[in-house]
Amino acid sequence: MSARPAGASPVVAAAVEGLRAPVIRALGLHSGWGRGAAALPAEARVAASGRRVLSLGRPEALDARYAGDRFRRATRECLWALASVEAMLEDGEAAREAIEGDGTALVFVTAAVYAASNRAFVEGGGGRGTHFAYTAPAVVPAEVAIEFGLTGPSTVFIGGPPATLHGIWYAATLLAEGACDRALVLAVETFTECEDLYARARRLTGGPLVEAAGCLWLEPGAGTIALRPAGASRAAGAAIRARVGETFACEPLAAIAAWRHRGAREPLTLEGRWRGASTVLQWQDGQETAGG
């Protein structure tokens, strides 16, 4: 994870009318490559060595901790969501009490995390009511909200990288409106359980599928933030995708992790492409901008 000290504000601002940019307080990231940005390879295809899916496996520590309690029903994707929040707290050197309560908004983003539960439900005959609830994407952030006591604004966006950019924009909106004191943007993608299905659609994805779970902690900032469509640009997000592999909604969080890890000083620009359309989110250092 980034060596940036807790509480630092690598922030961004920009052009769109009126929307204040948030500062990044912390980021937790797990991926099929390992924990944090330091584990990300230089080139996903090479590092994958022919593997189609880089699995997160199961978070053993969480498995053990929750054995026997209500989380025994929690799916692998729920456990990784919890693990990414814990990694975020560690990155921010914060206790879980720091995010508890009405003041924390939670924005969950995923393209396909529900696929594993859907398949298990369909192929299991559909007779297990408790399992059915886990086919709802909203249940992944719900497990996080239950575990960490989050009772603030909440929403779920479905889609690939642009959906995460929309999620960050929405979190910025909630912060700018004063609807919350901090906002978490959570993204989780798993692929292992449906590897055979994704193999049928190989031409739809460009590289190895890399499971990931990330959580971004945002707080109010001073600059502005710009979200704009970028037409059908194939280049959008290509660099981080080539480096990390296909992580769907987690891609922008991986890009932020990489940006922080290299201690970049340039303004952060996030790009995402999905279903033939591209989106760009531009942040600039709000404090620099404010200071002229």
Binding site: A111, T135, P141, A142, T151, G152, S154, T279
Partner: protein, 394 residues
């Protein structure tokens, strides 16, 4: 709320089991048409309950060429076809890159995923099984090239989508937003709710002491959102406030005291700048489950205070079933139609009130009243709660 913050709902389009356009939907609500029937589109003989609000045939769109055969997509496009006629979407009211699509769904095109798992090896089945697929199909059909956002706050999705769409307009990220919700009936969802024992073998009876569960339905519902000053005088009404809040209590049940719902209502009212004294009507989530109706009643009593007994509250779910992602959008449209036409649709099948549910739920027949300010509430799996505050056009 400032004029900049007010968002106009210009027009609507719907596809429901009780009407495939807004006029038919409204007239069915007033007359109490029963949209519940035995499901015919897929086998249900092995289920405890095989009834629901099924649309037997989508009749509005005559030519489906070039449109995915995904049922969820077709529900959305049926609704969009009516919206296009009412709101003048041909040509689009703004540059295509300035027209956004924001739709809510609990299950997306999940039936496409079922087909893929059942052996349909075409890549488009897999792609269609992703929950954001119908929204992109809709955007393509409309020719919209602005942000395409799929919201999935379970059965509160249709409210959250309207709220997110309003925020896109307020932030200047779009000049027109097609917003709403949809969900199709499928074996997947019927089996799921059947396994949860949530479906009733009786009628859906919100707030009735005999209530024993919900029935599902399918629908598509869309509205065109514009900034207040750009919408022109002809409109359904105005969105004054919205909020979507998590309650962090349980994955499939509301907070036992409804704290999340209460927060959502209070936040939406604060954004709207209204007090309980201003509210004329509440469209309740009103699923007809034991827990929901009791909790929702308690929350409304806390929020409305002394006014609670005087504010009419209804649930339209007995007539068309719980249409999941579409429900909150349909209910928002209903609130604004009530204000336009001076009638509040009844809560059907409410005959023996539960003593714990002691508000005015408009039992029996439609009531002559012209609600100007309405509150619409929604709840969903994952502890999701949403509230909209709406003002009917004068």
């Amino acid at each position: 709320m400032s004029a900049r913050g007010r968002i106009a709902l210009v027009a609507a389009g719907v596809a429901t089991p009780i009407g495939q356009d807004v006029d038919a939907f409204w007239s069915s609500l007033l007359t109490g048409v029963d949209g519940i029937s035995t499901i015919e589109h897929f086998p249900v003989a092995d289920l405890r309950v095989g009834r629901g609000g099924e649309i037997k045939k989508l009749t509005r769109v005559k030519d489906w060429s070039g449109v995915s055969d995904c049922r969820a997509t077709r529900l959305l496009i049926s609704a969009a076809d009516e919206l296009a006629a009412h709101a003048g979407l041909r040509p689009l009211p703004a540059a295509p890159t300035r027209v956004a699509v924001v739709v809510g769904t609990a299950l997306g095109g999940v039936a496409e995923g079922e087909r893929a798992l059942a052996g349909d090896r075409r890549a488009r089945r897999l792609r269609g099984g992703l929950y954001d697929s119908p929204a992109h199909n809709l955007a393509r059909w409309l020719g919209a090239r602005g942000p395409v956002i799929t919201v999935s706050t379970a059965c509160a999705s249709g409210a959250t989508a309207i709220g997110v769409g309003a925020d896109l307009l307020r932030q200047g990220l779009a000049d027109a937003v097609v917003a709403g919700g949809y969900d199709a009936l499928s074996r997947f969802v019927m089996r799921g709710f059947d396994a949860l024992r949530s479906l009733t073998r009786d009628q859906v009876r919100p707030f009735d002491r005999r209530r024993s569960g919900l029935l599902l339905g399918e629908a598509g519902a869309l509205v065109l959102l514009r900034r207040d000053g750009e919408a022109g005088p002809r409109r359904l009404g105005t969105l004054l406030g919205h909020a979507s809040v998590g309650d962090g209590a349980h994955i499939s049940a509301p907070h036992p005291e409804g704290r999340g719902l209460e927060r959502a209502i209070r936040m939406a009212m604060a954004q709207a700048g209204v007090t309980p004294a201003d509210l004329d009507f509440v469209s309740a989530h009103g699923t007809g489950t034991l827990l929901n109706d009791r909790i929702e009643t308690a929350v409304l009593k806390r929020v409305l205070g002394a006014r609670a007994p005087a504010v009419p509250v209804n649930s339209i779910k007995p007539m068309l079933g719980h249409t999941m992602g579409a429900a909150a959008t349909l209910e928002a449209i209903m609130c604004l139609l009530a204000g336009r036409h001076g009638q509040i649709p009844p809560t059907r099948h409410l005959e023996e009130p539960d003593p714990e549910c002691d508000l005015d739920y408009v039992p029996g027949a439609a009531r002559a009243a012209r609600p100007r300010l309405s509150l619409s509430t929604s709840l969903g799996f994952g502890g999701q709660n949403a509230a909209l505050v709406l003002e009917a056009a004068p």
